[in-house]
Symmetry: C2
Subunit: 614 residues, 2 copies
């Protein structure tokens, strides 16, 4: 049932994705994490989305012929917004065609070229003159002569005299800020690594960075093992508060998972974990407090006060991190009880406050975080969207990994895009959005969200699709995406799944409405809407609008997918102390809009649960 996907490689970035034939280059590039400029909204008139298809080009269309000379067309130049991919292809994207002010995120694994790589961790190889009677200053002063004033950790100071003398007063000083944390024999200055983590309620993502070059060495993701102790933030808080061991249990779970990810990433990159000197963590307020072992009880009740606001730098040992024993962990500043470090990290990485015109950033996860920037002012709110988009609480939901249906097109019958091009085993967030949009468009789901039984659906619907609707003896309707066989279960969507999706989309839509109102803006005023989240795949913008996740009146071309912005922010914080200062500034400046206690939000939420009319 799963159609053959085709591979597209984008140069010079070297990123490959697999797409269904007929996918526009624009969408394929977005899946690869690169947003191509479309000032005309993808209408094929501005000619800004120029790309060159080096191999696998289809014949040019009318818009291409207007935009390019015959020579250029022969060389493979096409408009990315107009050209569908019909076979395996290699496509060059010129730098000028990339959405300029989003380039930072979009090439997230290559780190923003304009971001100065100036991490808190620094390694310097020094060769010092050995002390003499004429020059017998203290060992630490001798080092300071080269490195400037510094404080030495006592554990290091204990070993420093012999470290210097055993190595002829040469070696590599390891500094975090102005703390000397180690002195390594020989020149190890090039072995300097850090790990960035997005600590999601449902999903953990980490990456290992070379702190000297800023390059990404390996990535890892995992389900947050805390899910077995509660699948949303409130149930975790409840677990932490309900017994003395509860907090430790949650902390140990996530620290253990982080350790596993770290070990995996180090192995993959061939890096010794003692050369990892810092880790940066972005998570919502509860996730960060649980990671630190800070009592989250007050986050579970009005007025939801967090323990700290500014970012924290804590000794790795105190956190239980298996990196260099004198290393440190950075935790993002938080804005409020439910708008945490992940939001700050996202605002940081998208340079939200620096963009022209009103910009909305929607980070879709188990919590949906919504941030709005206009004329230097910032607002943020959080809604308990639930884990539907991460595949949890959905009967056949799963994370965006091998076997997940990530794309659904209803076209006579169903065409499914499955990650890894294997038989489908479940559906992930982006697949769920596609499916719901198609079911709505086909009249199989009513605007109120009712999954109609086969006898109520439009008679125009092809029989192949109608046959996918099954009603069990209890009268429960489900829509089958993939039939089961002897070895695996059918993949189907139920009424309850649709309700979960409605809750998630309704919460986000209502949140967007409240934030716009606070800022005195209408949807039409928004210059850009940035969608962040770890879907693992691109959300089709039209489908996100069709199910009401994003306002329908929004110009399609203003919506951009920016990938895991929270992780990108964590990487920035690891690579730049300046970015940490910006994060403090963002957290301090942002107005926290409390939705849980807003009566208007409840009304808007109820309204937003109704799918928009197609």
């Amino acid at each position: 049932m799963s159609d053959q996907q085709i591979s597209v490689t984008f140069q010079p970035h070297g990123r490959s994705v697999h797409v269904l034939p007929g996918t526009k280059i624009l969408e394929a590039a977005a899946q690869a994490g690169m947003t191509i400029e479309t000032p005309c909204g993808g209408a094929g008139v501005c000619g800004k989305c120029r790309v060159r298809i080096a191999s696998g080009a289809c014949p040019p269309g009318d818009a291409d012929r207007r935009a390019f000379t015959a020579d250029q067309l022969r060389d493979g130049w096409r408009l990315a917004c107009q050209t569908a991919i019909c076979s395996h292809a290699v496509i060059h994207i010129p730098q000028e065609s990339l959405f300029a002010d989003q380039h930072k995120i979009l090439t997230e694994s290559h780190v923003d070229a304009t971001l100065e790589v100036l991490p808190a961790v620094r390694k310097v190889y020094v060769t010092l003159p050995p002390p003499t009677l004429e020059d017998n200053v203290a060992d630490l002063l001798r080092l300071e002569g080269r490195l400037g004033p510094l404080k030495a950790d006592l554990n290091l100071l204990r070993r420093l005299p012999s470290l210097l003398r055993d190595n002829g007063f040469s070696g590599t000083a390891v500094l975090t800020d102005h703390h000397l944390i180690d002195f390594e024999p020989g020149d190890t200055a090039s072995r300097c690594y850090g790990a960035a983590f997005d600590i999601g309620t449902t999903t953990l993502v980490g990456c290992l960075l070379d702190l000297t070059s800023g390059s990404e060495l390996s990535v890892s993701s995992a389900i947050n093992p805390q899910v077995r102790l509660g699948d949303d933030v409130l149930s975790r808080i409840h677990h932490a508060s309900s017994s003395p061991a509860g907090l430790a249990q949650l902390r140990d779970a996530v620290i253990g998972a982080v350790a596993t990810m770290l070990a995996r990433m180090c192995t993959e990159a061939g890096v010794d974990s003692r050369w990892v000197y810092e880790a940066a963590f972005a998570g919502n307020t509860t996730m960060q407090q649980l990671l630190c072992g800070i009592d989250p009880s007050p986050l579970g009740e009005v007025p939801f006060a967090p323990a700290h606001a500014r970012g924290l730098i804590v000794p790795a040992g105190q956190l239980g991190l298996a990196i260099h024993p004198a290393g440190a962990a950075y935790l993002f500043p938080v804005i409020g009880g439910f708008v945490g470090g992940d939001s700050v990290a996202g605002m940081l990485a998208t340079r939200l406050s620096e963009q022209d015109g009103p910009v909305l950033l929607v980070d879709i996860g188990t919590n949906g975080e919504i941030m709005l920037a206009t004329r230097g002012q910032l607002w943020a709110a959080s809604t308990a969207a639930g884990p539907a988009f991460e595949g949890a609480r959905i009967s056949c939901g799963m994370r965006a990994t091998t076997g997940a249906i990530e794309k659904v097109v209803m076209d006579g019958d169903l065409r499914l895009g499955v990650i890894g091009d294997v038989p489908p085993v479940g559906v992930c967030g982006s697949g769920l959005i596609d499916l719901a949009a198609e079911l709505l468009a086909g009249g199989i789901v009513s605007p109120e969200g009712r999954l109609l039984p086969s006898d109520e659906i439009p008679s125009s619907l092809p029989a192949t699709l109608a046959s996918r609707l099954r009603t069990d003896q209890a009268g429960h309707v489900r829509f089958v995406l993939a039939e089961g066989d002897g070895t695996r279960q059918a993949v189907a969507i139920t009424q309850r799944d649709i309700r979960e999706l409605q809750l998630a989309t309704g919460a986000i839509r209502a949140g967007i409405a409240i934030l716009l109102k606070q800022a005195g803006l209408a949807v039409g005023d928004l210059q850009r809407v940035l969608i962040a989240g770890g879907f693992g795949s691109f959300i089709r913008r039209s489908n996100a609008q069709r199910i009401g996740l994003l306002p329908g009146e929004l110009d399609h071309g203003r919506i951009h997918y920016v990938g895991n912005a929270s992780l990108a922010g964590a990487k920035w914080a690891l690579l730049s102390t300046g970015a940490r200062q910006q994060a403090e500034d963002l957290a301090r400046r942002t107005r926290h809009v409390e939705l849980a206690t807003d009566s208007e939000f409840q009304t808007l939420f109820a309204e937003a649960m109704i799918f928009p009319a197609t």
Copy 2:
């Protein structure tokens, strides 16, 4: 043999000492730690040393009659430099009669009134408004609203949310600098203590201070248990270097002794050790490094480079101190490998660099430290005087505790002052100085330091004294101070003891000479010579000069005993962060004069071993 001592109490300080009848009030006051002004050098002419004997006054002398009216004499007014104590007495010392610029030290247990008590540790009782939906800032920010910006230790942050909520948002914040280290239920602001320690090679002295008032609550002293692993600095370094466990053994020994002293002082003062938030340590470079567990090997060989120069603030836990678990330890800055934190502390407490005219500070311990200040310039040197003055390496030597002969007067026969007024069991530093001076004066010891056998002594010597000289079968001469009986051994001095004393005094005298030469000064230029050290008792200035410990040409009135200046400095550092800054400044400014490798020192040392001609 031990004469009955009489008690003298000084008011308004309330200090009591026991002295031999005939002791001048000036000397008795000095024993009590108070130096009385004697601009005329104790000649009875300037009238500055006025005191009032409230009870136990002897008849006035001629100088008294010149200085006071008949009414004043009747009221008990006398000149302290002229009046001997003849019976139990209570003596009032007016503030103006106390040596003004030494008052800080002399009243060391009462802490300098001009020293601003502004310790690094601060406790503040706060009552905060509980968070509401309108005011739900982070817990830490809520505290900062009252206390200013602060960093919280992670271990505290973990408990802070429940600490605040369980106590209705009231409690006592404990801060060291800008670190929040605890939040205690209720108002505990008045329970704020610190401990200051002088970590000597041979002797440890500590005191417990109330950090809110600056008052001293209890004191404790002990033999440094490291002595069983070597009785001087070099043998300790050797022990630390000779086996991997050596350093830990030395560290554990001193940390264990500090723990015992702390516990004893807390019990005595009725203070819970968790209310002790900081400890300050002053010791020579090796003692401080051993206390911290810092490899001291380089201090044992040319060019004697220390590990650090600036003062250290280390977590109490990392040091193994049994105070508040988030407390801190302060270690003094050091000047060089052999001029350490004790010297800096001494310079700090005597305000050495602020005094008029050239001033010499001699701190007599197992190491003799000599510091010189003139016109804003500072020099310091250290000599391995050996532990003779602390009673070690002397056949019947002991610390200045009960049973120690601390005073010796040769007057027909011997009159001995014994601490605690019990039968003597040994001789301490000040007793040894007295004895050597008297033996020299009596011709029993030759200027070269030879203890003469009874057949070589002057025939004018009373038979009672001559009979104390005994020669054993091997020809070794000894001088018996106290005969033994069935239960205790005789107390006697040997030729070897005299040699030890010569080494100690010679080293200090040669050191003084080198420092004076470096500064281009003669002995006569010195306006003051301050003698520091934990003798437990006053050194008689004339005797110290007679044995050559201090230059004989020095005006007697310019010599002042300032007690344990190192401990006094440690107290200051505990009570005032400003004092710590001064200590840094002093350590940085002081020129370190290396004696061990100075060939001129060797020559002068050899010369100074000869006792001065009487």
